[in-house]
Amino acid sequence: MKTAATVKKNRSRRSLSKTDRFTLTAFVGIPTLLQIILLWVPAVVTIILSFTYWNGIRLKDIQWAGIQNYKNIFINNPLFYQALKNNAIWLAFFVVVATPLGIMLAYQIDRGIKGHAFYESIYYLPVVLSLAVIGIIWNFMLQPGGFVQGLMGRDIGNAISIYGNPKINTWVILGIASWRHIGYIMLLYLSGLKSVDPALKEAAAIDGATEWQIFRKIILPTMQPVNIIIVVITLIESLRAFDLVYIIYGSPTIFPLLNLLVFQNFAGQGISMKGAAYAVILLLLCIVPIITYLRITFKEDLK
């Protein structure tokens, strides 16, 4: 193994000209350097800071806090558990409902059902909007004094509580977020489906496979690279949720999410290293499942 690798390495090195080597170093080195400076250094600094007390102003004021910030979050702060719950529901909803719906839509549109171009453009439309813009639109529709409330004949005095009502606001927010997410997944999947050889499907159909069997046994495995991207995107989109909710509420506490708590404790007058601790918790929640998933998938591929 080792010798083979060394031989391979030597061979490739020999075959590279000076210019090639320079280009390669530049192309790999510069992004890596930027990545380290802009991403990994701040990440490591954040991890260190999460174990301190600091108000973000003078370096000499930093005090060692041990695990106090984490203890405070885990033991004293009910917002943390509310946020965790909201993020978990968000993730579950995306995994179980929104993403499969997007895949299904893509599959149907790819089959060329009647009016598929029309559906495609309708579902694709929200994808061009940023979540912040989507927040503004839906806030304008549903808030007291908003468009939908007006249609129902309700003014600000007797407006139905939607965003402020804990019984329904989770589902309203998830509905809005899915509005965009479904289109996004559909688009990704559709581009993948276009590259699947139709002969495969035809062959399976001739062999007597049902529609569902074709999808499960033929399409899904051939789409493996796209599937990986979709799983990772669904995970990240659910955990990094921030802009939509921040725009709608303007404050981080009625519908708390982990990212909102990072922001609240890291920006403005509220700054304390509890914000860093929240960021570290979020980082772990994002990175651990993604790395695990990718390792498993790539291991299967190697087999």
Binding site: N55, R58, G157, Y163, Q264, A267, S272
Partner: protein, 436 residues
């Protein structure tokens, strides 16, 4: 006739010259240091930030800054920023390359950053303005830690109980006599009976309901207890704090169903559309009533929040104090200080008012004789109080007020029966804060 007039005008010219001479004489008597400061000022550039305010804000800033340029020869470059963004990124802005002077807020927000060395010490400037400023304002602008002022106080506004006189008359009560808790409950009950909202509140932003908590706590337990509580000298789990929340809980059945859906502008609209009996808010929204119609504005009224505990009466008010601060890291600190002093001086105030500033200035030079009935009432509300609070998120430290107290009040309104647990959490989070 014309000759006489000439004489008069000649006399006034002479008079003017005499005053000018006196001014020159005083100028000559100034210390060498400030004289050199004045020469350094001439031809220098001072940068000014207007915190929000739209076109009116820009107009006022231009009027005052132009007058400053005319007086000192220093050029002023002004920009307007979004108030929330400026506030959220304040520490970063102040550590970068900040503008020299800007409108800012007294209380924890200036003291903290002053103590951290980001705002300039304005002791000399405040001493020069001493004769025009009330002692309470100077005290309010001074850090209790370093005993130095980091802001020159200019304007303030009262948080009071707002309602519409016509609506109170409609339910058979006297709008001039909403004085104690019983009157207040009666007002809310009768309004609610008419199918309207008895007491309107918004809590979407997390800060709006702090105003109601502040005043209830001050009425029930007094100013000292409230300030002690916000600074950790009293406990959130104390029976006295719980007593305040008992009064708060009494208000909840009178509130609108969508407290968590609206902010201060929603509250304003409820009153503007005659949907609510009363609300506790800062008086800044009154201009929006005027913009709708003079009749709406004339109908609007404000009184001190009613008395609860006779021991304290109505002796306390939330009246956030604003002013001008100078960035310690600005390029032209001398210029910034001079500009700040000008804004807070009688001359600067005159210019601002002329340009359309409707704020109430703390300066003794401020002329209120042309005030309308509502503004006179605002002054009366301010004058009725002996103790001035600056609002919870300025009286308490920033890593506690917003992240801890705000959500606690929201959770209390959502589920009042959880109060003991909520207060235990607040106290535990206070105890976990780093103490210097």
């Amino acid at each position: 006739m014309s000759e006489e007039k000439n004489v008069v005008s000649r006399r006034s010219v002479l008079k003017g010259a005499a005053i000018g001479g006196a001014a020159l004489a005083t100028g000559g008597a100034l210390s060498a240091e400030s004289a050199s400061a004045a020469t350094r000022l001439k031809g220098s550039t001072v940068k000014w930030t207007t915190r929000g305010g739209g076109a009116t804000g820009d107009k006022i800033a231009k009027a005052v800054n132009d007058a400053f340029t005319k007086k000192t020869g220093a050029k002023v470059v002004a920009q307007q920023v979004n108030s929330d963004d400026f506030q959220n990124n304040f520490a970063q802005i102040m550590q970068g390359s900040p503008d020299d002077a800007f409108g800012w807020m007294a209380g924890y927000r200036s003291n903290h950053f002053g103590e951290m060395g980001l705002l300039a010490d304005l002791t000399r400037e405040i001493n020069r303005l001493k004769s025009t400023l009330p002692t309470a304002a100077i005290q309010g602008a001074t850090s209790p830690v370093t005993k130095k002022p980091y802001i020159l106080p200019t304007t303030y506004y009262p948080w009071g109980l707002h309602y519409r006189k016509s609506m109170v008359k409609d339910i058979g009560m006297n709008p001039e006599k909403i004085n104690n808790w019983d009157d207040f409950v009666k007002l809310m009950t009768l309004t609610q009976k008419k199918g309207l909202v008895g007491y309107s509140l918004g809590a979407k932003g997390g800060w709006e309901a702090m105003g109601t908590f502040d005043i209830l706590n001050a009425r029930v337990n007094g100013y000292k207890y409230h300030i002690d509580l916000l600074n950790g000298r009293a406990k959130w789990t104390d029976a006295r704090t719980k007593e305040t929340f008992k009064y708060f809980a009494q208000l909840i059945p009178f509130m609108n169903d969508n407290v968590m859906d609206i902010s201060w502008d929603g509250m304003r609209d409820l009153l503007l559309q005659k949907k609510t009996g009363a609300m506790m808010m800062g008086s800044w929204f009154a201009n929006d009533f005027k913009a709708k119609s003079q009749a709406d504005y004339d109908d609007l009224w404000v009184v001190p929040f009613p008395e609860i505990n006779p021991k304290f009466g109505v002796d306390t008010i939330d009246a956030p104090l604003d002013g001008i601060s100078v960035a310690a890291n600005g390029k032209n600190v001398t210029g910034g200080k001079a500009l700040a002093e000008f804004w807070a001086s009688p001359e600067g105030i005159t210019e601002a008012v002329k340009a359309g500033d409707t704020n109430i200035y703390v300066s003794k030079s401020f002329d209120t004789s042309s005030y309308d009935a509502f503004n006179k009432q605002k002054l009366a509300v301010l004058a009725s109080a002996k103790n001035i609070m600056f609002f919870l998120d300025r009286d308490a430290r920033g890593d506690f007020a917003g992240p801890v107290v705000g959500p606690a009040i929201q959770n209390f309104i959502k589920k009042p029966s959880d109060i003991n647990k909520i207060l235990e959490n607040v106290q535990a989070q206070w105890d976990a804060l780093p103490k210097n």
